[in-house]
């Protein structure tokens, strides 16, 4: 009796839903004569071809990702001087606390057509927002915009729009750099010469194997989770992860992918990595600081972390150049970008501020902040004596010198995988490392799963 009534109520709800569904679909679409971007109504000047025109007047919002705590004074200074140079322009700074791959707030804002006018984005967020059309096409809206940046950087700092063509929706801002950090003592124990870092990834893997033999479970080479290496290792080996239009996965077509997975499986089996780090979100920082892992994180800021947290390990730490492998040059590490929202009501102000923030003068000033190990993306900043004449032999100074050298030729050519696709590939490699699948099978399955996700995204 009761169940019957309940079923009836549920049926009623479903009927209501279907009616609503009909209405929802027929009533869609947005009116208005202005342009649209990502389903939002925007000023016509913000989209299509043609330079952006208009007065630099009005209030804009500028959003960073978790920088206020450490760099509040710097950014307030930049904002004040911008407002002084442009009377009538005002900048409101907000700082999103999230530091995940995507900040949920940014995604929700995009959907609600309320993105901040100027946004600090990382590569995955830039990929998503460009694809959905939420960002201003900067090289169209200001033909002069490329001037200050290192040419190789600017050339590679593009993202694909919905049709798959690469456009400039971001200004390169700063980058962390990539290098090898290691514990000299542990390398010596394994019979590896710390002064001669390998030049290929498989060479590095061979060193890991030596560490495994010397460590015997007392210490390890690195962490097991392949998420730290996919797709950056593929990029460094010049293995194409995705097709040119980004709509399908092609990494399985390169035989070196299977070799790479076979190496990972072998290293895991032989104890080069802690067994419990296979699907752990912990990077090597903690274990490295305890002297239990020979190779630390590849982020130069890591050296500073070790210096602060475990002085005794810092004394044994050395840095080396990352293996250039088949790519033949450095990768820039996780670059950060500055974008302008296409939904901005004061796009001229937003664009002016974005360019002001990323100009050589402001970039150089921030990179000199003693609290950071970051690197600028403008030619003038990199030519600054601060980066060119690094003195001192401590690992911290060495790291700065190595990365500054890299950046003259480095680019931001990284493959931008969505987190879901990355996880799908990583998952299959984990199965191969556990011995549940052969490396060849895992690579094949990984490609199939990645393709399924890419297909559903259209």
């Amino acid at each position: 009796m009761r169940a019957g009534r309940l079923t009836a109520s549920v049926a009623g709800i479903i009927a209501l839903t279907l009616t609503a569904a009909g209405c929802g679909l027929s009533g869609g679409g947005s009116g208005g004569g202005d342009g649209t971007a990502g389903g939002c109504k925007v000023d016509k000047g913000n989209v299509g071809s043609g330079k952006l025109t208009g007065d630099v007047k009005g209030q804009i919002t500028f959003q960073t990702t978790n920088l206020k705590k450490d760099f509040g004074a710097f950014f307030n200074g930049v904002i004040a001087s911008f407002e002084k140079a442009h009377p009538g322009a005002k900048v409101k700074w907000i700082d999103d606390p999230g530091d995940n791959t995507f900040t949920q707030g940014t995604v929700a804002d995009a959907q609600a057509c309320t993105l901040p006018d100027v946004i600090n984005v990382n590569a995955p967020t830039a990929t998503a927002l460009t694809k959905a059309g939420y960002l201003l096409n900067l090289s169209v809206k200001d033909p002069q915009v490329a001037r200050p940046f290192v040419p190789s950087f600017w050339k590679s700092a593009t993202f694909q729009d919905a049709s798959g063509s690469a456009i400039h929706t971001t200004l390169p801002w700063y980058t962390g750099g990539v290098l090898l950090t290691y514990n000299k003592d542990l390398l010596n124990k394994a019979g590896i010469d710390p002064a001669k870092p390998p030049t290929t990834l498989f060479g590095l893997f061979a060193d890991y194997e030596k560490v495994a033999k010397a460590g015997q479970g007392k210490f390890y080479a690195t962490m097991a989770n392949p998420i730290w290496r996919i797709p950056s290792d593929f990029d460094q080996m010049n293995i194409k992860t995705l097709s040119a239009d980004g709509k399908s996965a092609v990494f399985a077509n390169d035989p070196r992918t299977t070799q790479w997975v076979a190496w990972m499986a072998k290293l895991y089996k032989e104890g080069a990595m802690p067994k419990d780090s296979l699907s752990s979100s912990n990077d090597p920082s903690t274990l490295y600081s305890q002297g239990k892992v020979a190779y630390g994180s590849t982020n130069p800021s890591f050296v500073r972390f070790v210096k602060q947290n475990s002085p005794s390990i810092y004394a044994r730490t050395a840095v080396g150049q990352q293996p250039y492998d088949a790519l033949g040059r450095a990768s820039a590490g996780a670059p950060q970008y500055i974008s302008v929202a296409a939904t901005s009501k004061h796009a001229p102000v937003a664009l002016a501020f974005a360019e002001y923030l990323t100009n050589a003068e402001n970039q150089t000033a921030w990179c000199k902040d003693p609290d950071v190990v970051i690197f600028p993306t403008t030619t003038a900043s990199l030519n600054d004596p601060f980066f060119q004449n690094v003195t001192g032999s401590d690992p911290f100074s060495q790291a700065r010198k190595l990365v500054a050298d890299q950046l003259k030729t480095a680019d931001t050519n990284q493959t931008n995988l969505s987190p879901a696709v990355q996880n799908a590939i990583v998952g299959q490699v984990q199965l191969a490392m556990q011995g549940k699948k052969s490396p060849a099978q895992a690579v094949k399955d990984a490609q199939a799963k990645a393709n399924e996700l890419l297909k559903q995204a259209g």
């Binding site: 995955p124 998420i227 998952g427």
Partner: protein
């Protein structure tokens, strides 16, 4: 600092409601209807409200809240499940039942469904019983019991970041649990709590239980007051041990609270995401083998680059139907049990 509860146990309870004599069994039966919609016992005829809008006025805020912030957004989800909408705007077109047919043939979806159901099947019975035992343990007013009661509640308060860190530290290969087991010579090599997909799933269940123990203890403490003390005393005179009294007096007495806890835990278990994420990281265990339905919804539906909001919505609808179905099934089963 914890202060002792005011009434020592020797002072018999004199609560307002308890002072009104109602025979114990009928009272229990009445409690027995607490969460079920059904004829209210003792409904003396149709005392219809003369002003028909009065009940609606009293319930309006709750209805509005549930409809505006629950039902309507979910209807939107149901609509989306028939489209190929993307998480970040853009045009969506109607695709009929495509998302649902894809779901039926999607082995990852079924794996996530299995994990979610397994989670509920293992955790619900334990979560119904363990906090009850704990409540019985702290019910008696012993010296210092206030401190214990407060302390048992602390896992609810710990932030998930810290819980994640401390559980990893407990379960790592050189973690506390493995170290102790090795010292006790129970195992030789470390138990792979954090790298075996089954063990990750069970460890996550342990984490859920740990977090919920104190939370539901409170529910039970509130309900234990309904169990007539005379019954316990009488049974004790008859020589019934603590275990027998627990099963034959306490459990029937708080039956309704147990059903409530079971329902809430069941709904909670089908929504588990954080525990899996903390112990199995972003992939959801090696090869994604520990992903639950909410985890899968995030992967296929919410990813701003490769997500498909239409498909994610279809999985959300499936999750809702599963939740509803299991709840109804559980209620049906307990009813038969009663009969």
């Amino acid at each position: 600092m914890a202060t002792e509860t005011a009434e020592p146990v020797t002072v018999p309870g004199t609560g307002r409601a308890a002072s009104v004599p109602g025979t114990a069994p009928s009272r229990i039966r009445r409690i027995g209807r607490a969460v079920l919609p059904g004829p209210v016992p003792g409904a003396n005829g149709a005392a219809l409200y003369r002003r028909w809008w009065l009940p609606w006025l009293w319930t309006a805020p709750a209805i509005v809240c549930a409809v505006v912030f629950g039902v309507f957004p979910f209807l939107n989800t149901v609509i989306l499940s028939f489209t190929d909408a993307k998480p970040l705007g853009g045009a969506a077109s109607f695709v009929g039942l495509d998302n649902y047919t894809r779901m039926l043939g999607d082995s990852d979806f079924w794996l996530a469904t299995r994990n979610s159901i397994l989670y509920a099947v293992v955790v619900v019975p334990l979560m119904v019983l363990l906090p009850l035992m704990l409540a019985v343990l702290v019910e008696k007013n012993l010296p210092g019991i206030g401190f214990f009661r407060s302390a048992f509640y602390t896992p609810v308060l710990a932030s998930s970041v810290v819980v994640g860190l401390s559980w990893q530290w407990l379960l790592a290969d050189d973690g506390l649990v493995n170290t102790w087991l090795q010292k006790a010579h129970l195992i030789r090599s470390a138990v792979p709590f954090l790298s075996d997909s089954w063990l990750i799933l069970f460890s996550a269940m342990g984490l859920t239980l740990w977090k919920g123990l104190g939370w539901y203890m409170i529910f039970y403490l509130a309900a234990l007051g309904n169990v007539p003390k005379e019954l316990h005393e009488a049974a004790q005179m008859d020589g019934a041990g603590a275990v027998r009294r627990f099963w034959h007096i306490t459990v029937p007495g708080v039956r309704q609270a147990m059903m409530l806890v079971g329902t809430l835990t069941g709904i909670g278990c089908l929504r588990v995401f954080t525990e899996i994420f903390m112990l199995g990281s972003s992939t959801g265990g090696p090869g994604g083998a520990d992903r639950t339905l909410p985890f899968y919804i995030r992967d296929v539906g919410l990813d701003p680059i490769s997500g498909n909001a239409g498909y994610g919505s279809a999985v959300s609808v499936a999750l809702f139907v599963l939740t509803l179905g299991l709840t109804l099934l559980a209620q049906r089963l307990t009813k038969e049990d009663e009969a």
